[in-house]
Symmetry: C2
């Protein structure tokens, strides 16, 4: 498999985490987002959306959208499952994941912040925008874990919820959000104690820039 990515992208980070949790090996192809390399003709031929991540499977299929890739990997490589077996709990794990992937991340990613700057926002205003979006979203996420045992978001096994949370916590720090979510922070710490989460961090990637 080949993963098309960029060290800092939260969406790619999710896929790296799942690949590491499942012990799958793959080749990296790097596309420097800030230099616009995801819009190069060669990449657009592969993925007309010009988004990362994209996963090229061994059969030559090109899969896009991080959560679709994560669900695919979970279906095809079911060892170390990303979702519990109970349907209600699966729904709660997915709801938490979407609370990040649909309600927080799209509102603070590079593309949207560029759009806001194009409309006249200065750096302080875009930072404020990102901070508000993340803080509101994490308030909701913290409540979604009410009554759920740790150490991970949904109990004693890592799930897709943890896979989504860790990169978003990193974004929160990058935008200077004051962390006020003890449960989310404890989950993040439990995750980062695991080798798979360590291996998936941006700092551990070959294309990392400090």
């Amino acid at each position: 498999m080949k993963l098309h990515g960029y060290f800092r992208s939260s969406a790619v980070w999710r896929v790296r985490t799942v690949l590491a949790l499942k012990g799958l090996t793959y080749a990296h192809v790097f596309h420097h987002l800030r230099k616009g390399e995801q819009s190069a003709p060669d990449y657009l031929r592969l993925n007309p959306q010009g988004l990362i991540p994209a996963l090229e499977t061994d059969d030559g299929a090109v899969l896009t959208q991080s959560l679709a890739i994560c669900e695919y990997l979970d279906e095809v490589y079911p060892a170390v499952p990303l979702l519990p077996s109970d349907p209600v709990l699966r729904a709660k794990v997915r709801a938490f994941s979407y609370a990040i992937a649909c309600e927080i991340h799209p509102l603070q990613n590079l593309k949207i912040l560029k759009r806001l700057k194009g409309l006249g926002f200065d750096q302080a205003q875009t930072d404020q925008w990102a901070q508000t979006v993340i803080a509101d979203g994490f308030d909701a996420c913290e409540r979604l874990l009410d009554g759920q045992a740790g150490p991970y978001a949904f109990g004693e096994a890592v799930t897709l919820a943890d896979v989504c949370l860790v990169p978003q916590m990193s974004n929160a720090r990058r935008f200077g959000v004051t962390l006020r979510w003890p449960r989310l922070q404890a989950v993040e710490a439990a995750c980062l104690a695991l080798p798979a989460f360590q291996a998936a961090r941006p700092e551990a990637q070959p294309d990392f820039e400090g």
Copy 2:
């Protein structure tokens, strides 16, 4: 089951469509979004996020996030499946669904447009924002269907992709977007010829306001 919703919400519309496709009966509970009823104390006790939809199951579980609810319904009521059986095709259906649910809808929903107005955007600017977000997103969606047979988004069976597309097409019209996506428009027309899609339309809901 009880569905907490509002006639115009795209996210609720997705769940209504799935319930109708699967022939499931349920009670409606309406929360008028523009009057802020989703923030009433009674509802916040049920769903602390104050978002719709929420689905109360017969066992008393409260499920949130429309796509998590759709996947739950598909797992518990597998007749009329929302996803194909092939893992690569499942990933493509999910990717299309997320291209709408993560990349378009969160950037043009009522909450975000209110936030933009609070930052000084006037009506024309928020409309322009929504139009751009939808048009860019639909350009990508149209390409995601390259090589896929009709009449529906992914062939001869309705999938989650169609469930997400139809409400977003309606939003496009509401914001005055010029439709330029022949494949998406043909898919919408095929869907709206089905009784389940007819039943799920906002105009068919008891709380509809013209």
